[in-house]
Symmetry: D2
Subunit: 370 residues, 4 copies
C-alpha cells in the first residue's frame, strides 16, 4: 500500500493554475492564452504534464469564445495543461497567416516546455469547424507537427474550405505518413459543414495507415462545442451521447500519450500504425502477406514456418485446442485472413514461443523495407 | 402526478419472457430463437414493443454464440423483443441462401407481429462480421427491409466479402435511397476485417443521404461482441469506451423509432434524410440551393423572399439581434452556406413567422421533384 | 429552430476566465482564489452563473492542493464559477477562525455578485475531509448560509472532529430546519475518517427533512478528491464508479438550482423538503396523516374527501383503471400508506381535477402550522 | 496475443439461454423462474457463472412483474445467471412463509449448482420494496445465507414492515456478524417507504463492520425498478443518474465476487470487513489501536515497532520522502489516526519490508481474538 502523496507545498506557497494572455502578433491580433496547472508538491507523481492547444472555430471570421475556455476546462480537469490560440481572422486570415500563427504558438510552447513542466512530445491540437481545418493543416502540413489532433466538425475538403476562406488549402490530399493520430467527431446533419468532410478525412487517414478514432453522431446542429448545457442554446436538439466525445477524446489521448503513472506517463497502448508495413525496416509487425511478397523476407521465413507448422501439428494432437478449429474454416478464406495478419499475431496464434518470435524479428529487421 | 401502473396480472398469471427455437429450414439447420417480453398488465404503457433481429458472425462458417444471447440481453433490458437467426453456413452459405433465411425470418416476425405484440415497422437488424454483411444485404437489397440496421465490424466490400464467402455480393454498390438508417461500429486495428469496410459503407450512405451513426474506435481486436467481460478473453486489450456502442445503439434506435411513451412510442427525433431534396415533392425541408435550381420553385420563392428580407432589415434596426452579426460574415461565404441550409431553417433564422413558413411549404409541395 | 448565439464579442475583446488571488486575512494566511467564467457575448443565454466555493481538506493542518484546482475544473466545465478558500490552519485553526474565514469569503462573493455575474442565491460550498467539516459547519451554523453543500468524506462527529482540531464543534447536533440541501459522498473503508461520520450526518438531515443525496462507495482510500488519475497515486485501488460523484454532484446541483435555460436558470426539480409538514402554513403538500391530525384541517378536508370518494367510486365502475387495484391492497396497509402520502399526490391518484386541488390548497394555506 | 475463443459448439448444438418455471409450492403459488446462460463452448473462459436471485416487490400483496424480468436482463447481459422467486403473498404471506420460500429456492439453486454451472458461493439476492425486506431477512436471518444482497428501496424497520405485513419481522436488529455484504439504493422522496429504512439498515451494517455500498438519490418515486424507460410511466420525474444503480451494482458484485478471468473468477478486491478486529485470530489486518489493547499482542509488537521506527528515521534522512511530512501533522491527531489504521497499512506506510510484515502476521495469528 502507498498513501496518496500528502506533502503540502512549501509554507505559504499555493499550487495554483497560472493563466496569462501572450500576444503573438499585435497587428493581426493573435494571442495565446495559457492555463498551466502546477506540477510537483502534492502532485508528486506529475513532474510534467501533457497539453492541448485549442483552435476555436468561427469560419475564419472570428474565434468563438464558446469553443475556447469551455473546451479547456475538461482537459484541465483531466490533468492536461491547456492553451487557446486566437489566430488571424477576416482579412488577416489570408493563407498562410493562420498556419503561421499555429507554428509560432507550437514553437513557443515547445521552447518553454521545460519551464512550464510540459512533455514536449505530448501536445495535442484541438480544433473546431474552421479551427478544425487549421488543426488538420497542423496535423498534415505544419513544420511543428502536433503529437495528436482532435478535429470537431472540421472543414477539410478544398471546395468546402474555400467557402469560408478562399485562400486556404485542401487537407485531404495533404494526409501523409507523417500525419499524427487523429480523433474526428461530428454530427451527420450538420447543416453548415457537410459530413463528407469528416468521412473523407478519415478515409485518407486509413489509406495512409494513420491511427484514428471517429465518432459521427446521427443528428445535431453545427458548432455544439463540448455539448454542455452551458454552451448550448436551451432549445438545441442533440443526443445526450454526443457529450461523450469529451471523455472519449481524453481517454483516447491517454491511449496515445500514456496515463499518469509512477512519476511519468505510462506506455501508450495505441500505436500510430496498425502494422509495420510502412516502417523503414521489416519486422514481425509487418503483415504476413506483405513479408511474403518480399523475396528476401520469404527466404528467411519459409524454413522457419515449416518447422513451426510441424510442431503445431503434433501439439494439436495432444490437447483440446482453445483456438479456432481449423476444420471450421474454409482453407481459401483462411489463406486470405493470414495474409493480412501481423506475423507476430500469426506466430502467437500458432503458439510459437516468445523467444522464437524475437529471433525471427531480429532477422527481419536487417532487411530494408523498399 | 401519475403513479406507475401497479396493477398485477390476473391471479396466478406471471408475465414472463417467452423463449422458443423455431426451425426455419431443417436441411440447412436454420433456426430462429425468440425472446419475447410481455406487454400489458403492469406494463400498461407498452401495448407493443419494438424488436431486434440478431445475426451472429462467424465468417459464414458458423454462427457465433458469443454474438447471440449476450447481444439479445441488453436490448431486452431496454424493452425490445429480441430474435436470433442462425442462418445457413459452410456449404449451405452459397448465395442467396443466407439472405433467403433472413427474408423468411423477417417475414415470419412481421406476420406474427399482432400475436407477439411487436411494432411491424420498428424492427432493427443487428449483424456482426459476416452477420454484419448479411445485415447490410438486408438493409440494401432485401425484399423485407428492416427499419434500421446495426452493423458491427461488418464485411461490406466485395473483395473482402469473397474472402469469407466466394458467392456473396458486394454491399457498397447496393446502397440506395431505400436503404434503412444504419449504425456502424468497429475498431480501426481489426486484423480480420479491414476498417475500410466500415468507412466505405458509411461513405455510400452519405452519398445517398441515408441517416447513419458511426463509431470507429482507435484499437481493439475483431469480434468483441458487446465488449462485456463475460464475452471476452480475460486478457483482451480494448478501450473501455468501446462498450458504449451498446447503450449508444439503443439510444440511437429510440431516436429512429421513438421512446416508450403514453401507450405508444413517441415521435422519432431523427429523420431518415437530412433534407427533402430526395423526396417526391418539393418542400421547405429542401435546401435553399436545391430549390432555387428548380425554376418553378424559384418563381414561387423570389417574391416571398424579397418581402421577408425587407421585414427582417427593418426589424434588425430595432433590436439587439441574438443571431450572427451579418457584418461578421464574408458575403461570399454566407452565400455558400445559405445554399445548403434547409429553407425552413433559413426562414426561421430570418425570423419568419411559423404561419408564413407553413404557407410557403404548401406552395412548394405542389411541385413534383424531378 | 433557433441557432446557437454566434455573436462574437466586441472587436478585440476576448471572453476569458479571470483568475485572481484575494488575501482575506494576511496574518492567518487566508486567501480566496477566484475563477470567473465570462457571461454575455456568445454566452448570450447566461447573464449570470451559479458558483461553487471549495474548501480543501488537510486535517486543519494545511489546505490540500489536490482538493483545490482539480475540483474547480469540472465545475467550471459545467458552467459554474469557482472559488477556492484556503482557510486558517494549524495554530490559526482555533475555532471559530476557519468558520470566520468562510463567512468572510461568502460575504465577499455575495457582495460582488452583481459585478461578477453570479446568482447570489445559487452558491454551493464543497468541502473535503476537514474542509468537509467546515462545509458542514457552513451548512448548519453559519450566518451566511450556502445554498447547497457538497461534503466529501467529511468529519462531522464531535469526537472525530476533535481528533484533528480540538477546538472545533460537532455538526450532527447542529443540523436544523435552516440547513441547506446536502450531497454527501465517501468510501466505506476510509481509514482516516470513519464512515459513521457520513451516515450520522445523513441521518440528522433525514430527521430534519432536509433534502440530501448520499453515495457511500464500498471501498477506497481517504482523500481521493475527484478520483481522476491525475490526482491519485498511480497504484491506488478504488472503484471506477467513485468518479461518478463529480458528474452526479453537478447534476444534483442543477436539480437544486435549475439548469441553464432561456436567459435564466430553469425551475429546480428537487425541493428542499419532501413535504410541507414543516412549513409555516398548511397546504396540499403536507402529508394526509399530518393534516388529519390538525382539527382545523380535518374539518376542512372531511366533507371534500367524502365527495371525491363518491366521484372516484362511480368512475371506477366505468373504466379499466390504470391505477393500483384497490382489491389488491390490504386495507390496513393502504391506510398506513395514505397517512404518509402528500395530500396533493393522494388527490391526483384519486383523479381529482387540478382546480379542485388548487381550491383545497387555498383553504389549507389559511391555517397556521403550529 | 491470445485470440478470443472461437470454437463453435458441437455441430448442430446451439448454446442458448434456458428458461423454465419451477413450481416450489403449489398451494401457495410459489414459483422459481430460471434464466440460465450457457457455459463452455465459445464461452471457454466461463466454466461456471455467478448468479442473482430476484425477489420482486409488491407490498406482500403481489409480486411485481416490473421488478422481475426487467431486472434479470441487465444481469444476464453481464454474464450472471438469473432466478426470479415469486414468493407467498396476501394471506399466504404470514411469516415465515416468504422466508421459507426463499430458503427453498436458495437450497434448490445450490443443490443444482453443479448441473447448472453456477458458483455455489457467488449467489446474490436482489429485492425491491417488500422484496427488499425479504432480501434483508435472507441476508440477516436465513439458514441459507446469500453471498451478497442488493436492496432496492427496502422496507427494513419493524414498524414500517408491519404496515405492509403485520406478521413480518424487523431486520435492523437482526444485522449480525454473519450478514453478507449489502448494496442499498433508494430515493429520498420515496413516499411509500420512508428513506429512514435505508439509512438505519446501513447504520446497522456499519456497526457490525459488514461491507456495504449505499446510494440514496435526492428524489424520485417509489418502485422505479431498473429506472429504464420501458418500466416507467412516461411522465415519471426521476434523475437520469438513478439508472446508474444497475451498472454500479454489477460492478460492486464483481468487486465482491471477482471478475470473469482465466477460466475462473478473479480474486475479489473488496473484503467483507474493513479490518480483522472481528476475526477469530489476530493479524496485521487488525487496527493498531485494537492490537495494542490486547496485552499478548502488545508484547509481540512493542519491540518490533521500536526497531522499525529507528530504521524509518535513518531512512528519512537519506531521501526526499513522498510520504506525509510528519512535521505537518499535529502529534495528537497523528496518534488518533494511527489507532484506527490497520497494522498492515501502518507498516507499509513506514516502509517496512513485505517479509517483515509477513513475519509479524504469523506471530499475531497465533493469538486468539477474545
Amino acid at each position: 500500500m502507498r498513501q496518496p502523496a500528502l506533502r503540502p507545498a512549501a509554507a505559504g506557497r499555493r499550487l495554483e493554475m497560472k493563466s496569462e494572455q501572450i500576444v503573438l502578433n499585435q497587428s493581426r491580433n493573435v494571442t495565446l492564452t495559457t492555463y498551466l496547472l502546477e506540477a510537483g508538491g502534492e502532485f508528486g507523481n506529475i513532474p510534467k504534464r501533457p497539453a492541448v492547444l485549442i483552435l476555436p472555430g468561427g469560419g475564419y471570421q472570428f474565434c468563438s469564445d464558446r469553443e475556447a475556455d469551455p473546451v479547456a476546462c475538461p482537459y484541465l480537469a483531466a490533468g492536461f495543461d491547456a492553451f487557446i490560440l486566437r489566430y488571424s481572422v477576416r482579412k488577416d486570415a489570408v493563407w498562410p497567416n493562420p498556419l503561421d500563427d499555429y507554428e509560432q504558438a507550437m514553437q513557443l510552447i515547445r521552447s518553454k516546455a521545460e519551464e512550464w513542466n510540459i512533455y514536449q512530445d505530448k501536445i495535442a491540437v484541438i480544433g473546431f469547424s474552421a479551427g478544425g481545418h487549421l488543426a488538420a493543416c497542423a496535423a498534415t502540413m505544419s513544420v511543428n507537427r502536433p503529437n495528436a489532433a482532435i478535429l470537431g466538425y472540421p472543414v477539410t475538403i478544398g471546395d468546402d474550405v474555400r467557402s469560408c476562406n478562399v485562400t486556404a488549402p485542401d487537407t485531404i490530399s495533404a494526409v501523409d505518413k507523417n500525419t499524427c493520430p487523429c480523433f474526428v467527431f461530428a454530427t451527420r446533419t450538420d447543416n453548415l459543414v457537410p459530413i463528407r468532410n469528416s468521412i473523407h478525412f478519415v478515409d485518407a487517414l486509413e489509406q495512409n495507415d494513420i491511427s484514428f478514432e471517429c465518432h459521427i453522431y446521427s443528428h445535431g446542429p453545427h458548432g455544439f462545442s463540448t455539448c454542455d448545457a452551458s454552451v448550448q442554446s436551451y432549445d438545441t436538439v442533440i443526443p445526450q451521447r454526443v457529450r461523450s466525445w469529451v471523455p472519449d477524446s481524453i481517454a483516447w489521448l491517454k491511449d496515445i500519450f500514456g496515463e499518469f503513472g509512477n512519476g511519468c506517463l505510462t506506455q501508450p497502448v495505441c500505436a500510430k500504425r496498425s502494422n509495420g508495413n510502412m516502417d523503414d525496416y521489416l519486422s514481425v509487425d509487418c503483415t504476413f502477406g506483405y513479408l511474403m511478397s518480399k523475396p528476401e523476407a520469404a527466404a528467411v521465413l519459409t524454413p522457419i514456418l515449416d518447422k513451426l507448422k510441424k510442431a503445431a501439428a503434433s501439439q494439436n494432437d495432444d490437447q483440446n485446442s482453445q483456438s479456432m478449429d481449423p476444420g471450421a474454416m474454409d482453407p481459401a478464406a483462411m489463406a486470405v485472413l493470414t495474409q493480412r495478419m501481423k506475423l507476430r499475431d500469426l506466430l502467437s496464434f500458432g503458439r510459437a514461443p516468445a523467444e522464437a518470435i524475437e529471433q525471427i524479428d531480429q532477422l527481419l529487421r536487417k532487411i530494408a523495407n523498399t
